[in-house]
Structure formats: C-alpha cells, structure tokens
C-alpha cells in the first residue's frame, strides 16, 4: 500500500519537512497543508528532505511550483535535499534543477540558509 507521511522539525529559522512514501495527486493535499501551515506562521525558510520519498508525480512537483514565488517574495526559499536517483530523475526531466536549489543533504541546505543571513 502506498502511504505518505510528512513530519516537521524546526531548526532555528529553518523548518525542515521530511517527506516519505508516495507523493502523488492523492496525497498532495497533505504536503500543501504542511506548507500552508508554515506560511501562516511566517516561516519562509524551508528545507524539504526527500530521503525517504519513494515516488513523486507531477502533481507533487506542482506544489513546489505553487508556493515558490510567494516564499521567495517574502525573502525565503524552498531547498530540496537528499533526492534518490529515481526521484531526482523526475525533477530533472521536468526542468526543476534550473529553478530550485537542490542540495546533496539536509546539512548543505541548512548551511546555505545560514550563510545567506
């Protein structure tokens, strides 16, 4: 059964969302809600750790697209880390590496946020 889970941990200014399982049209609402919650709290520095994500569909990528502009306008960013080769392939095919900061691991993303301050 294709489950999806999302957990959040705040590291100072940066919020890390940890996604696992299948992010597709069926589960996309939960990812959207998690991002919406962060925006409600005025937290715009977001790292999405995809270490345990097994699958992502275009709808899942659509959520990144739907939020990135607003977040960057507020001086924040979404950095994406720990992509498995399979998940990276989808990001790459659809042209995401040109628009999003894709980091090797969570620490690299956190460092980038911290050094940008």
């Amino acid at each position: 059964m294709s489950g999806f889970d999302i957990s959040r941990s705040d590291k100072n200014e940066v919020s890390v969302l940890h996604l696992s399982g299948f992010l597709d049209a069926h589960t996309v609402n939960r990812f959207e809600n998690a991002l919406q919650d962060l925006l409600k709290e005025d937290r715009y520095k977001i790292t999405v750790n995809l270490k345990d994500l097994d699958y992502i569909s275009s709808a899942g990528l659509g959520v990144f697209m739907g939020f990135i502009e607003e977040i960057r306008e507020k001086g924040g960013d979404i950095k994406i880390s720990n992509l498995s080769p399979k998940v990276y392939k989808v990001f790459d095919l659809l042209g995401f590496p040109a628009l999003f900061d894709i980091c090797e691991d969570e620490q690299e993303a956190l460092n980038k946020f911290n050094s940008a301050q």
Partner: protein, 589 residues
C-alpha cells in the same frame, strides 16, 4: 619527446638530420595523441575543444570554428573559439561546400557563405567528411605571425580533420541517442501524469477540488505558475480558477469581451507576440490557450502564462495539454451533473419538510360542535403550495373558521403560513373584532415579507346558538352560504389581500345560518382545476355541484364528492399544480 621518437631517430640517424622530417614526426606523434584523446571520448564539447584548441595552440591561430551540416546544405556553427559566443548556433546556407581544404582569401567564390566566413576572418576551411552521412566544416583564422598556411600545415590539419570526423560522428550519435531517450522519459512522465490525474479526477465530484488537482499537475508538469481557467456558466464565460496574477484586474473586462474571438479554437495553440488573431492574449501575458471543448462547443479555456524557466512549449507538451484539457472539461461536466442531482434531491427533501410543516399546522381532527357538521380537507400539490384552513373554538358559544392561500410554494410558503397561523391563534383569543384581527395580520405580513409575498385570507366568526355570523374576506375566493332550495349568498365583504400595503381597514360582512343551511370555503385550487383542454372548473361548475349534492349529504360526503368530481374533471391530474383545500360547515338544527 616521446621515447619511441628517440629510438626512431637513433635507427634512422642520417634521415633524422633532415628538419622537415623531424617536424613531420612531431606532427605525427601529435596526431597519434589527439586520436587517442578523441576516440576515448563521447563528449561532443570536449572533442570540439580538442580539434579547435590543438591547432590554435600549435600554429598560434587566434580563432576557429566548427560547422555541422544539420540538413542538406544547411550548416550550423557548433563551436567557436576566439569569436563572439553569440555566433554559436548561427545557421549558414552552403550549397557548394568545398570537398578539399581551401584558403578563403584566394578561393574564387562570391557566395554569401564565403562572404560571411571571410567577415569572421576565417582563412582556412577544411571539410569534415565521414564515409557515412556526416558532413561538416572546420575553419581557422589567420596565424598571429601573419605567415601564410604552408602545404605541410594544411596536410596536418586535414589529417586531424579525418581523425576527428569519426569521433564527432560518434559523439553526435551518442548525443542524439541521449536526447531521444530523454524525450521518451519525458513522454512517459507526461503519460504518467495523465494517467494519475485521470484516476484522481474520476474520484472527485467537487469543482474546487478538481481545479486544485488540475492546477498541481499543470504546474508540476509544465513549470508554469501563472494560469487561469475560464468556464461557461449560465451562458457567460467566468474565471473559475486563478493562479498567480496574469494581468491587471482593470484589463479583465476588455479581455473577457475579446474572448468571443476564441470560439472556433478546437486545439491548444501557442500565442506569439505578433499573433494576428490572438495578439490580445499575448499582451495579457498568455503563452498558450487550451480550449475546453465539449460536444464541439467551447465550454471554456485554460490560459497559461510563460514557463518559469522561460523555455518554449514543446510539441509534446502541446499534445499533453490537448488530452489534459479534455480530461479537465469532462471531469468538470461530471461534477456539474452530480451537483445537479444532489440539488434535486435536496429540493425534494425540502419539499417533504414543507409538507410536514403544513400538515402540522392544519387541524388534526374536526372539532365536535353540537348542532353543526364540520369537515375540512387539504390535498397538497407536488410542489407544496401554501393552503391553510383552521377552526378555532374561542368560547362556549363562538367558533372561528378561516381559510387562506399563501403565495409561493415550498418552504417559503410553509414558513409564511406558519407565521400566519401563530399570529392568528394569538389574536383570536384576545377581544378583537374580525376587522381588527385582519388589519393586524395584514400589518404583520406586510412588515415581515417582501412585496411579492401575500396571502388571500377569509375569516368567519359563528355564534353557535343563533347561527348568526360575521366575516372578513381579504381577497380570498368568496365562500358560498348555501341553502337547501339551491339559493346562495356570496361572502365578498372585506378588503384587499394581506401583505400588499400597510394600514388597510377591512369591512365586516354579516349573515345568519339557519337550520340545514351551510357555508363552503375553498381555495383557488378548486375553481382553477383544469381539464386536459385547459378549461378551468370555475365557479359555475361549483355552484352546479352544490345544487346537486349539498342538501342531502353530510359535510364530509360533500367534500369527498367534490374531490371525486374534480378528479374526473382533470382526468386524474388534480393536484398537479396547486393545493386543494375545502372547508364545509352545515347547521344541522
């Protein structure tokens, strides 16, 4: 110097003294090295770099370029050094490409391509020709020393070109293979997206939810974050979903007007800046229009802004959008039908509730009043009209009879009727005259409802021992005071219907009911009952009925027979359009 060259020199000592041969050997060794480098790489860029930079370095040449033939006679600058980067990708038409190395300065050729290459200060041009169908040109500028190219050098460069050809061809094939593979992967991704959204849309029947799913798939698949969806609703195009601001709100109105021009669009179309027909869309920041077509009719459009990476939409993406648009409109249409069914069900439930309210407002049983025979009935129509009748015993010797018809149908009529009933029951127990009661009811209804809500109302107070009565008729179908000899009095007196204007004074009519006489009150459902030829039952048939049935029957039987007759008259469609209410009372002795 490589060791094999030393041993070569040692073995051929006397010849090696010859400078020319020495140089040749060095060139050969360079070629050998280059060929190893070239053939071990499938990276086109590094191959191009090698074949340009090696001669440029060895001969001190400041510029060079490689051209590939993309289609017959159509060449494309694939790489350039020492020239502006912007020329890479430039197309040049060469219909007579040289088959041997040529020096452009002395080459007798006035063709446009030769002029262009001279302009770029290309002096030496060497053909790249493989034994398959790969063709190209390899051009070099002047030497910094200003010396001319000598035959040996040209031979060396030709050899280099020959070695390079195979490597270039391999690398290009490899690149092409990669490109095709990637395109296939992308196609699979597109199909996956369509498959997934199709599955998901089958599950949802909520318009907002559908649009949300559509929006995510669109954004993720095409890298767009500005778009809006327009749909025909009640025959007007309306924006039903918007993501990102595409254009200023004040431009919206004129934009919507111009959308009429999109009527004939049947497939997704890219909008160029100078588009003759859809230029207004480009101005609005739109790059692609996807028509939403249902049964050959454009039911709406998805307008899509530029891709976030500024790239053009590919043909494959346009194909994707065509299917995607179809799925979207079908799913929106399904949702609409589903909502309609739901709405119908809700309406039915509301009518059942209205029917329930009305039933409770009507007297559950006829009061037993000695000396009088009373019967009332109400048949609600399908839409539940607002008929009402009531019998209120106000004292040992007095009783109030009332009948009313509230305008409208369904829940609103039932609620107004329930107001009327509550007010009437309160007023009836106070010491008010009938005209006062009616005046107060009128005031109340007028104050509390809009002008299109009104009530026709009849109230009659009977003094039981004497049979004398008073009544007020506020615009209701006048009841008949009927006598056994067939004569009757029509009870008109009163005033206008309740709720039309404030502060109305109502007149009071009077009469006396003697033994065996009676009064029949009814609503317009009786007189306006229709036969299949649209003839109404009318008062004349009612009078005739009363003459035939009134004298010898009890109230209940009279009412039953009237219903029977009306049912025959309408051929079974009695309560098709309006409620039927009859209240009959007879004085027995």
């Amino acid at each position: 110097m490589p060791h094999y060259l030393n041993s070569f020199k040692a073995r051929h000592g006397e010849i090696a003294e010859n400078d020319r041969l020495d140089k040749k050997l060095i060139e050969l060794s360079a070629l050998f090295e280059i060929s190893q480098t070239l053939n071990s790489s499938l990276n086109l860029k590094s191959i191009l770099d090698t074949i340009l930079l090696v001669p440029m370095g060895r001969m001190m040449i400041s510029r060079g370029m490689v051209l590939f033939e993309e289609e017959r006679y159509e060449y494309n600058i694939a790489s350039a050094k020492g020239l502006p980067l912007s020329i890479i990708g430039k197309k040049i038409h060469i219909n007579n490409p040289p088959q041997h190395p040529v020096l452009l300065q002395s080459y007798k050729n006035d063709d446009e391509w030769a002029r262009i290459l001279r302009e770029y200060k290309i002096e030496l041009l060497i053909p790249l020709i493989s034994n398959k169908d790969f063709r190209g040109l390899f051009g070099l500028g002047p030497k910094l020393t200003k010396e001319e190219f000598v035959q040996d050098e040209i031979e060396f460069l030709s050899s280099l070109a020959n070695i390079a050809v195979q490597a270039l061809e391999n690398a290009r094939n490899y690149e092409e293979l990669n490109r095709v593979n990637r395109e296939l992967d992308k196609k699979i991704q597109e199909l996956n997206t369509l498959f997934e959204i199709g599955k998901e849309l089958n599950r949802i029947f909520d318009k907002e939810e559908i649009l949300k799913q559509v929006s995510y798939s669109l954004m993720g698949q095409l890298l767009v974050n500005r778009f809006f969806v327009m749909l025909r609703e009640e025959d007007q195009l309306q924006i039903i979903f918007k993501k990102g601001s595409v254009f200023a709100e004040d431009k919206l109105e004129s934009f919507m007007r111009q959308c009429a021009a999109l009527e004939g669009l049947s497939a997704p179309v890219k909008i160029e800046e100078d588009d003759a027909r859809y230029g207004f869309c480009h101005e609005a920041g739109i790059r692609v229009i996807v028509p939403l077509v249902m049964q050959d009719k454009n039911e709406g459009y998805i307008f899509i802004g530029p891709k976030m990476n500024q790239q053009d939409f590919t043909q494959s993406e346009m194909d994707f959008l065509a299917t995607f648009g179809n799925m979207t409109i079908i799913s929106l249409e399904n949702a609409r039908l589903f909502q309609e069914t739901l709405e119908k069900k809700r309406l039915e439930e509301e009518l059942n509730m209205a029917r329930g309210i009305q039933e409770k407002l009507l007297p559950a049983a006829m009061p037993e009043i000695p000396g009088y025979d009373i019967h009332g009935l109400n048949l609600p129509s399908k839409q539940v009209g607002g008929d009402y009748f009531d019998i209120i015993v106000t004292g040992d010797e007095e009783c109030i009879f009332t009948i009313a018809d509230v305008s409208g149908k369904g829940m609103p009529a039932s609620l107004l009727m329930s107001n009327l009933q509550a007010a009437l029951h309160t007023l009836a127990t106070e010491q008010y005259s009938l005209s006062q009661i009616t005046g107060k009811l009128n005031h109340l209804i007028h104050k509390n409802t809009s002008i299109d809500r009104y009530i026709t109302f009849f109230i009659l107070k009977l003094h039981l021992p004497s049979g004398s009565y008073e009544f007020v008729n506020a615009g209701h179908n006048p009841p008949y005071h009927f006598r056994p000899d067939g004569s009757y009095t029509t009870l008109y007196d009163g005033g206008i219907i309740l709720g039309m204007m404030p502060d109305v004074t109502y007149e009071t009519g009077r009469g006396r009911l003697d033994a065996h006489e009676g009064i029949m009150m009814f609503t317009d459902g009786v007189t306006e009952a229709m036969d299949p030829n649209y003839n109404e039952f009318e008062e004349k048939r009612l009078i005739r009925f009363l003459r035939e049935n009134f004298k010898d029957n009890h109230s209940e039987e009279i009412n039953r027979r009237l219903i029977d007759q009306l049912t025959r008259f309408t051929e079974g469609h009695l309560t098709q359009s309006d409620d039927i209410t009859i209240l009959t009372l007879k004085r027995e002795r």
